[in-house]
Symmetry: C2
Subunit: 164 residues, 2 copies
């Protein structure tokens, strides 16, 4: 089940978040981030945050927010995380599809990911399957824990109908 995330959910989600961030392989968050700071970034700054729950267990989450203000606020941005033990089960896909529906309901016309780590092939391929295109490649924009400087992709999907 996917529903709006509350503070208790975030506390359950914190070990997942913390592990993803300290791995320094996918996200450009401060690896030493505290629970409070993470809650602020993931649940307070965004427009909305959601949680994927199975049998009372928090297995994944995403946030959605405008990617820019004013003349850029028709494009939204999302970030997704899935618990290590729950990967390969379609949860990221379910979260992404849910986020696209929500984005449309909120009135966004497009969705943009600003920094998909290029060597994160599982993610890149999934986003492509779900309609996202690589529209940019930023050289050496991420310091990967094992690989050092790697490129990041800007990925983008227009959600509106063609005559919008």
């Amino acid at each position: 089940m996917i529903r709006v995330m509350n503070r208790e959910d975030f506390k359950s989600f914190w070990p997942v978040f913390s592990r993803v961030v300290s791995a320094r392989e996918t996200y450009a968050f401060e690896p030493e981030i505290t629970l409070e700071q993470a809650y602020h970034l993931w649940c307070e700054l965004p427009l909305k945050s959601y949680v994927y729950i199975d049998n009372g267990e928090v297995l994944g989450s995403y946030y959605i927010k405008p990617n820019a203000a004013g003349p850029g606020n028709h494009v939204c941005n999302c970030g997704y995380m899935v618990a290590e033990q729950a990967r390969g089960k379609g949860i990221a896909r379910a979260l992404c599809e849910h986020s696209q529906q929500q984005a449309t309901e909120f009135g966004f016309k497009a969705m943009q990911y600003n920094s998909v780590v290029s060597v994160n092939e599982v993610a890149v391929k999934l986003w492509q399957k779900l309609g996202f295109e690589i529209v940019g490649r930023v050289p050496k924009a991420y310091r990967h824990a094992r690989l050092g400087f790697v490129d990041t992709f800007v990925m983008y999907k227009w959600l509106g109908t063609s005559d919008d």
Copy 2:
């Protein structure tokens, strides 16, 4: 003269800022932004903000900040504005060159512009002259006041030496 911007400078700069933002041709800020909100975004959130002053008059400004946290914090982001009556006099160039020097002093390895409006040819050409490359093109990411949906560019320059 280029120096660190203070609150009084920002007040002098406010008519320039306000006009640039309400024109909705170059920046993705809320067009109805207040002076307080603008000061927060331009001078408080960034690492540092600078002002170009000639004869006591504020003719331009820029901010510099990390473009991302943690494994992305070696890339900085800047934004520049020049007063309408002072354009075509090399002030944007001077600000950009100054920002690259400051970026290097702060230890950044690269500079990224996330959203250069593609039809803003003067800016695009100037950044290219100063060593920036277009590394991405985001379709219809900006609602231009006169032209409707236009593309934006991601522009990028590596500042470090090749063996960094």
